[in-house]
Symmetry: C2
DNA sequence: TTGTACGCGTTATCAA
DNA sequence: TTGATAACGCGTACAA
């Protein structure tokens, strides 16, 4: 039984109702163009048989499927999973199904999925952050597309929605300055668009507060963070960095702006293990407001991304595009805010 | 432009190659039944035009889609997201696409998705934990189905894969006993199959170590845990529970088996805030080995679920079912293990 | 108000 | 080795 049978088709319903398939279709889709009796009859048979139109056949006929593809680099990442959740919810409300594709940041897999989605006649695409380096050579189908959190290289024409990372970097740094610390950036080795923007915000804040550019210190962590596995190498490296910062400190306490919460938490733990006072001697602001930031002690001050808004704007844009409308704004930045907790 | 155009169809390729659509199909799908020249010709045209078969049309013709549906209650839950990741990977390797559906534990939405998946002619279904109470009245399509982590009520015939929660409860409790504590269970108000099994394991361990059944203490937390939002009420309630336990203690230190990591971390933090020594005065074992368990301080001892194995068995079973084979084992329990860290 | 006929793009069967 | 033809299930002109 490798091949399935459609339980009940429109012809079955037609036969059982004593009408033609066309009439059944009219009753179910148009809502007009038939007598009251016929309508009742057909609906009755539909209810009895549990008939449901075959979406594949319908899609082939009308050349659209009522589904949108959602491509995500790593579903186990809390931020991405939240975006997925909200996007899915928005689209469901608009009667779209969502095909979620997890690429594992693998460009080949991403390509494969994009092709498959195209062949499945999805009506539109939401691309959450493509593969970092190779996204140049990703072949994107000719469809309504909205990119979230990262643009696809080469196509400035596609619409794009992301958090205002630069504002986030500014807010984090300003907080550290307000607390009387000398702010430093702790970030990952790999330079993504969003982390660059966060660092740009850091520089902006220095400038705005009259701190000389030469005082800017950006410390890059080499060790990989790893999705599922926590890297012990990361622990060690961050620990050494914290020790160095503390040793080199002047009279002003140290302020660390970590460009993500994982780094921030690592830094907090490293400081605590050395008996350094938080936030008196050592203040930290993270980024993302991930789950761990609230559950860790002391709770982490961090930049919060407005995921529901992000998803909402992305979906609204996509729906407009799918309807054939043009967009007023091709690029949207969603405001972020500081969640000030116990590390500043 | 609400309707799309297929860029290039099999007829286009046929015309450009000077053969019939049937021959193109043979070249692409069968690999035999044509001359060498024809094969080259067709493949050349395919490469030039970038033709890709329309999956919808093919699905309609062969009555299968090469996709499987994956229904998950909450994608932002780390355990579920890991299952999704691994299931998706396994299926991708077998050339299946995966449609991931996030139900938000909403029975109505689950039903809606099941119907839609059916109508999209998915070849099989993986159901990760259904809606708790209402799963009785979920209408499951007549398809190959594998349930993960929770059975659907009423249908003992469906195949089922989950972690050995009972073993987990046993291991956690045995650890607490071995450390010389009097073990207690801290769990949520709602009784799911898996948490019941975990508690059963707790009882087994008591019995096996000669601790009278009357000493079993199961404390249920009323406050909701909430997916995205952390509940302050939960904090307070757990804090009160910890205080009570500590006040009532006899000479033996307190051992808490929390049936999930969130509860465990709450308990740890509550104890720390009261200055209670961990693990000397207060030992804790969680369940799930979630992300927070490793990043929290002190790192949490917890029961680890073997998600890759879980996904692998589930997919292997589904693939067999989809091939029309029968399964030797309808119910599989995947072993768990204790990750002993700093809270025991 | 209703039915007939066609086509969406493919693959499978049959005959050449 | 190849091509014409039919069929998967549906929606929709068009005719009645």
């Amino acid at each position: 039984m490798s091949h399935r049978q459609q339980a009940v088709t429109i012809s079955d319903v037609a036969r059982l109702s004593g009408v033609s398939p066309a009439t059944v279709s009219r009753v179910l889709n148009d809502g007009i163009g038939f007598s009251e009796d016929t309508g009742r009859m057909v609906l009755d048979v539909v209810a009895r048989t549990g008939y449901q139109a075959n979406g594949i056949a319908r899609a082939l006929r009308v050349l659209k499927s009522g589904t949108v593809g959602l491509v995500v680099p790593d579903i186990t990442n809390y931020f991405f999973s939240q975006v997925v959740e909200h996007v899915e919810r928005e689209l469901f409300a608009e009667r779209y199904s969502t095909i979620i594709c997890n690429t594992g940041r693998d460009a080949e897999k991403e390509n494969s999925y994009l092709k498959k989605l195209d062949s499945k006649m999805v009506d539109g695409l939401i691309l959450i952050s493509g593969n970092p380096s190779t996204s140049q050579d990703v072949e994107v189908p000719n469809l309504p597309i909205v990119c979230v959190d990262r643009e696809i290289a080469g196509s400035e024409s596609t619409t794009f929605v992301s958090s205002d990372h630069e504002q986030g970097g500014y807010l984090a740094t300003a907080e550290l300055i307000a607390k009387g610390t000398r702010p430093v950036v702790l970030t990952t080795a790999y330079e993504s668009t969003s982390s660059s923007a966060r660092i740009a915000g850091y520089r902006n804040a220095l400038r705005a507060h009259g701190i000389p550019e030469s005082d800017a210190r950006i410390i890059r962590v080499q060790a990989a963070e790893g999705g599922t596995n926590v890297s012990a190498a990361l622990d060690d490296e961050v620990s050494a960095i914290v020790a160095n910062l503390y040793a080199e400190r002047t009279e002003a306490p140290i302020g660390v702006f970590a460009t993500n919460d994982t780094l921030a938490v690592n830094a907090v733990n490293a400081a605590l293990q050395r008996g350094i006072q938080i936030p008196q001697e050592f203040a930290i602001v993270g980024f993302d407001d991930s789950l761990i930031s609230r559950v860790v002690h002391p709770p982490l001050s961090t930049i919060h991304q407005d995921v529901p808004k992000l998803a909402q704007v992305a979906c609204a844009n996509l729906i407009k595009l799918m309807a054939g409308d043009d967009l007023l704004e091709k690029r949207t930045r969603i405001p972020v805010w500081l969640e000030s907790r116990a590390t500043t």
